[in-house]
């Protein structure tokens, strides 16, 4: 049994074996082991609820894999919103013929990430599609978190607030694109893919002055800043010189003609905070390896939702949302 067969998704013996021998074991979850139709879970009064699907190709990339990503993605969504992540559901859509070994690796990585993040996998499902109708492994995760007293609200953002990014920008997007066929970069760029609740939850608990946090995944930092600015009906002024980048990510982006501000991040967050606590918040984030390059990158101005960037030369330009996937260009 070294490849995924259609029968692994038919609900019969092979499905059961897959659940018992891979998922229950790798996820280490007692609730999952009960194999009920649903999971009874205990949570605080108000809960946060989020879901995300993962279709990344390739499924293994420098710095992570689709399993780690699927866990970290939902954990981070719950965290930046303002909740303590508690439970996850995990659904696999597998392509017939996918090596069993790949599935085991992905499940193991997902299980390890969940244990690191302190979330329990409470429910799951597996379906298998015919060869060619999927791309090896797709994962959907949904998650439940306990709401915290303070949580993300765009209307709390005030003129004069500080904008913080928790570390180097664009690592995930650059790691993925440099592995794509036809690009073939040899680099040590690693995805930043990681759960961040151990940084984010204590921040919510310690500082009332945090207005909003968000994770700049697809569309990158630029798109996320624009979304927040429009929701807050404020202008943002970003100082290009303050933006933290890994020099390799910057070079890779330049060679391919891409703007690293639009590359995805999977282990970063943006925080808009009261300027009075910005220094403390940055210092707190920097204590963690995932946040060692955290920095204040700009400030909130009166306005109606423009994101302005001051260039090192002193000129100004606007940032907008990503319009369609960034493609390598030569012109």
């Amino acid at each position: 049994m070294d490849k995924i067969l259609l029968a692994h998704g038919d609900g019969g013996l092979l499905t059961h074996r897959l659940i018992e021998e891979i998922f229950v074991r790798e996820f280490g979850s007692d609730i999952l082991g009960e194999m009920g139709d649903a999971a009874g879970i205990e949570c605080g009064k108000k809960i946060a609820f989020a879901t995300d699907s993962f279709v990344v190709s390739p499924i293994f990339f420098p710095g992570g894999d689709i399993g780690k990503l699927a866990c970290a993605g939902t954990v981070n969504d719950l965290s930046v919103y303002g909740s303590k992540p508690r439970f996850l559901s995990v659904s696999f859509i597998l392509e017939e013929g996918t090596p069993m070994e790949d599935l085991i690796k992905v499940a193991r990585s997902l299980g390890e990430t969940a244990r690191f993040a302190g979330v329990k996998i409470a429910a799951g499902d597996t379906k298998v599609v015919e060869k060619g109708k999927g791309d090896k492994i797709y994962i959907n995760t949904a998650g439940v978190g306990e709401m915290l007293d303070n949580f993300s609200q765009a209307h709390k953002i005030k003129t004069g607030d500080a904008i913080i990014v928790s570390g180097n920008i664009g690592d995930h997007g650059a790691a993925i694109i440099s592995r794509r066929a036809g690009i073939d970069f040899e680099s040590v760029i690693k995805s930043d893919c990681a759960p961040l609740n151990h940084i984010i939850v204590p921040l919510w608990e310690a500082y009332e002055g945090i207005r909003l946090m968000r994770d700049p995944t697809r569309g990158g930092v630029a798109t996320t800043l624009k979304e927040i600015a429009m929701q807050a009906s404020k202008d943002f002024l970003i100082y290009e010189e303050l933006l933290p980048f890994d020099p390799q990510v910057r070079s890779a982006a330049e060679v391919l003609g891409l703007d690293p501000l639009y590359l995805a991040n999977e282990g970063k967050f943006i925080a808009v905070v009261d300027a009075a606590i910005a220094g403390e918040v940055v210092n707190f984030i920097r204590r963690f390896p995932e946040g060692e390059n955290a920095a204040v990158i700009g400030e909130v101005l009166e306005g109606r939702g423009d994101v302005k960037v001051k260039t090192p030369l002193g000129g100004t330009k606007l940032l907008d949302m990503l319009t369609g996937e960034q493609l390598p260009r030569i012109c």
Partner: protein
């Protein structure tokens, strides 16, 4: 119209060279630029080295500017 960036030549093998764009390495074609050696800096466009960068000229341009500036020449 044409994106081209400087890269350092790390090794040469037939019609291909491995180059380094400040930390990112890539194999590029050398068909358009025969006379290169390891350690040279070249401009790369669409996967090919298209010209060698002259260190002398690179320095001279900046020096010239600095001289003009020092002379306070606003002509």
């Amino acid at each position: 119209m044409c994106l081209s960036l400087p890269a350092k030549v790390l090794s040469i093998k037939g019609n291909l060279a491995e180059v380094d764009f400040m930390g990112v390495k890539k194999e590029v074609g050398t068909t358009l630029l025969k006379d290169i050696k390891v350690g040279d800096y070249v401009m790369v466009h669409a996967g090919f080295a298209i010209e060698k960068i002259s260190p002398e000229e690179a320095e001279k341009t900046l020096k010239l500017w600095e001289e003009i500036e020092a002379a306070g020449n606003i002509e």
